[in-house]
Amino acid sequence: MIRALLLSAAALVALPAGAQDVAITNAKLVIGDGSAPIEGGTVVVRGGKVVAAGRGVAVPAGIERVDAGGHYVTPGIVAAFSRVGLVEVDAVTGTNDRSATRSRFSAGLDIAPALNPMGSPIAVNRAAGVTRAIVAPGSSSNLFAGQGAVVDLGDDNDMVTKPRALQFVAFGEDGSAKAGGSRAATFLLFREQLLAARSYARNPATLAEWSNDSLIQRADAEALVRVINGTTPLFVRVDRAADILNVLKLKGEFPALKLVLVGATEGWLVARDIAAARVPVLVSPLTDLPGSFEQLGATQSNAGRLKAAGVEVSVGVFDDDDAHKMGYTTQYAGNLVGLSKLPGASGLTWDQAFASISSVPAKAVGMDGAIGSLRAGRAGDIVIWDNDPLELGSRPTMVWIDGKRQSLVTRQDRLRDRYLTPTEGALPKAYDR
């Protein structure tokens, strides 16, 4: 099939500094929208954005050409739910900005200033082909964890693509623990905080009556108003089938809520309800153990069954190491392809699997017009791979983010090179660089 996604007018405006125009030719081109790879494809990036991708795309005169040699060329991976940029070393508290459990604020917390674009996990994840990430805070002292961001993993000093791109809240056992020990308390606290925010929106003077003991602070109220009116998607961690159904019902009282389910380990048990509510789901797809009583139905077929029911499913790695190992995203997606060969199991096709780690998570956070695929107008986040990107051990050979060619050298590479031969030479290893 021939596809030529042609230049859109919008793509011509705004040329970010540092972006190079480039045409990648002779590609096994993956658009990322669930369509099949295109042999002999070309993608053209100008001014930091994709202007055309497909077969038979003309390469504008005078721009750099890169011959992909028939290798896979894809949009960069979008980590569907992560803490990349918030953590350098998990157990070193000063470097770990995942959670703010002693703050008096909750929904109002904004992770943007906590992100460290120079941290070593940025380069390590980028070298695995991850170019964008949806980053959520872990938890606060209250029910709502705060506002996450969509980020890029570029080799520069600004990683925020979109701040306050989502609000995060955990229901289920975690939410219960925050709210006072029962799911009853979670749902009541959730409702009361939204109502407080709504009353603040209608009459900001009510703020004068609030104190530190109030249900929420002003900053929290402002953030929750954007949740109530659907400006900010609400990412909800929830696993138990019964909890999922109750979360879906929240739209009854707050109809503008833009819900996104995170985890949804037992989602397959209520897949039709999720599909009917048109709520996207981010899964950590290899979760197959009853790690808690809210995950009794855990199976690796969750993603495949949800997809078959019509749910938009993104694949993430958030029940694993969510700050360092975004490189597992492709492995997890690949496992779902393998699963589809197993009798009785439900997986994804390769094309679906790749979309679940690129355009589908971008859409879940409302940004599929900007990132996550090689359709015209999207960010020039391109990866050339040495092999099938979902296969184990495949690595990017070249990466662009916003049309800028990226370094793929990591601190780990430097350590490896120093110890290729472990014995010391004439001078100690410290002199070996």
């Binding site: 070393v89 290899l286 790690g291 199976t299 360092h324 197993l342 199991a345 979902l390 490896r416 472990p422």
Partner: protein, 471 residues
């Protein structure tokens, strides 16, 4: 002069096996005898008071034909033939291998056969699913040295994790270790990955015990937080050395036939010092591994394997020289300070040095895809330009962990006479798209992806959502 244990791993293992084999002579209830009796003559304790009751399940004469075979010791047969008989590997060869005519024949065309995966580092059963407090039985974190506890006494055989490791990971043998809160965490146990009512029904017959030790951050953090020693790495060493000194004195009394009070902790450590019990040492940093090696020389024991060993690549030469294995993850990093210098080439660099290389999980999820973890490590090595064949890399999951557990003479490879612990994969097991199709343990078909009746369901999952699902 520092005592140097030059014997290789196999020698240590066979020593341990001999010790185990002789336990039948010991009185069955020595501990119950009056102390006066002990004062009269050398004390003999039952070294196997919780013996394995595992016998192996019914087998049939089976031939797998036409598959690519990795034998687990680095050998390979294309279009291979594997014959399993009475629980043992009868023969392995190429397409021309003569096979019995009355055998059940499995067509392996396009598929792969390997020895079952052996995970040398698991906490299944001790930290089972669901991970509720009532099940948290892996760290006796009340004293920094607890060599008296045995992880087998915490194993919950109904942990669904065992069944996942079997069905998704092709794991046939695994070592269950105490956690790493303590410097000396206790004895580990080696299990066959068969569902059973009791821990004894899973226990690998005749496998030697190991002592789990841990260096670095965990012990000093756990006990430092309690205001106790150790709170530093030097504290870690001091507590270890004092304990070894005590154990040496205890062992001396035993050796001299002197009366001793029964001391379960000292029995374990004396067992290490006499070579009957192996040492599995959680240790991340290169410099700390080097210190532990010297400590083992100081007190005359041998470390079988450094577990986690994220900096093994910095001292691969030393580990090679000492004959110590490293059991590693492919790419875990950054979760704590001592994991900060991890490199994805760690496993390949150990292999390059010719040192004993093992891929382990330490995780109820990754134990389900150790083949994939090995594949990533293999790819990292090849990217460096190393020539490593698939069949060589399979030793990281097979004969190497088997030897490191002292069971390399009975499992871990497809050599005739060995336990028929075998996996048939539906493709190359180093591909992400591949799954176990059949798993045999001692020749019995314990999992078959094509037959839902050969899919174990634990008591815990019976009657729950998703009972008997593909998982």
């Amino acid at each position: 002069m520092v005592r140097s244990l030059k014997s290789g791993l196999l020698a240590a293992a066979s020593l341990a096996l001999a010790a185990c084999a002789s336990t039948g002579e010991a009185p069955k209830s020595a501990g119950d005898k009056p102390a006066t009796a002990a004062a009269e003559k050398p004390v003999k304790f039952d070294k196997d008071p919780y013996p394995s009751t595992y016998k192996g399940y019914p087998t049939r004469l089976t031939v797998v034909k036409g598959a690519t075979v990795f034998d687990g010791e680095g050998g390979r047969f294309d279009n291979g033939t594997v014959v399993l008989s009475s629980g043992k590997v009868l023969a392995v060869g190429g397409p021309d291998l003569e096979v019995p005519t009355d055998a059940y024949v499995v067509d392996g065309t396009g598929k792969y056969v390997t020895p079952g995966v052996i995970d040398i580092h698991s906490h299944l059963g001790d930290y089972p699913s669901p991970a509720v407090d009532a099940h948290s039985d892996g760290n006796e974190a009340t004293s920094p040295t607890t060599p008296e506890v045995w992880s087998e006494h915490s194993v919950w055989p109904q942990d669904p994790g065992f069944t996942r490791a079997l069905a998704n990971g092709g794991v046939t043998t695994l070592e269950i270790l105490p956690g790493s809160a303590n410097l000396m965490g206790g004895r580990s146990v080696t299990l066959k990955n068969v569902p059973a009512r009791t821990m004894q029904g899973m226990k690998f017959p005749g496998a030697p015990y190991s002592l789990k030790m841990a260096c670095g951050e965990n012990p000093k953090r756990v006990y430092g937080a309690k205001g106790r020693m150790p709170s530093t790495r030097m504290g870690n060493l001091a507590v270890n050395r004092q304990t070894w000194a005590k154990a040496a004195a205890y062992k001396k009394k035993l050796d001299e036939g002197k009366a001793v009070d029964r001391d379960l902790a000292m029995e374990t450590l004396a067992g290490v010092l006499s070579g009957e019990i192996l040492v599995q040492n959680h240790c991340y940093r290169a410099d700390e591994m080097a210190i532990v090696i010297d400590m083992s020389h100081e007190f005359g024991y041998k470390v079988s394997t450094f577990h986690h060993a994220v900096e093994a690549y910095k001292i691969a030469d030393l580990l090679k020289k000492e004959g110590i294995c490293a059991a590693m993850w492919a790419d875990w990093w950054g979760f704590k300070m001592e994991a900060y210098d991890a490199v994805p080439e760690n496993i390949a660099l150990m292999y390059k040095e010719g040192a004993c290389t093992i891929v382990h999980s330490d995780d109820a999820n990754q134990i389900q895809r150790l083949n994939q973890e090995a594949a990533k490590a293999l790819a990292a090595g090849r990217r460096m330009g190393m020539q490593i064949s698939d069949e060589q890399a399979w030793t990281w999951l097979a004969i190497n962990p088997a030897k490191a557990l002292g069971i390399g003479d009975r499992t871990g490879s497809l050599k005739p006479g060995k336990m028929a612990d075998v996996v048939l994969w539906n493709g190359n097991p180093f591909s992400v798209y591949t799954r176990p199709e059949k798993v045999w343990i001692d020749g019995a078909l314990m999992f078959d992806a094509l037959d839902p009746k050969r899919r174990p369901v634990t008591d815990f999952e019976l009657g729950q959502p998703g009972e008997g699902d593909v998982k």
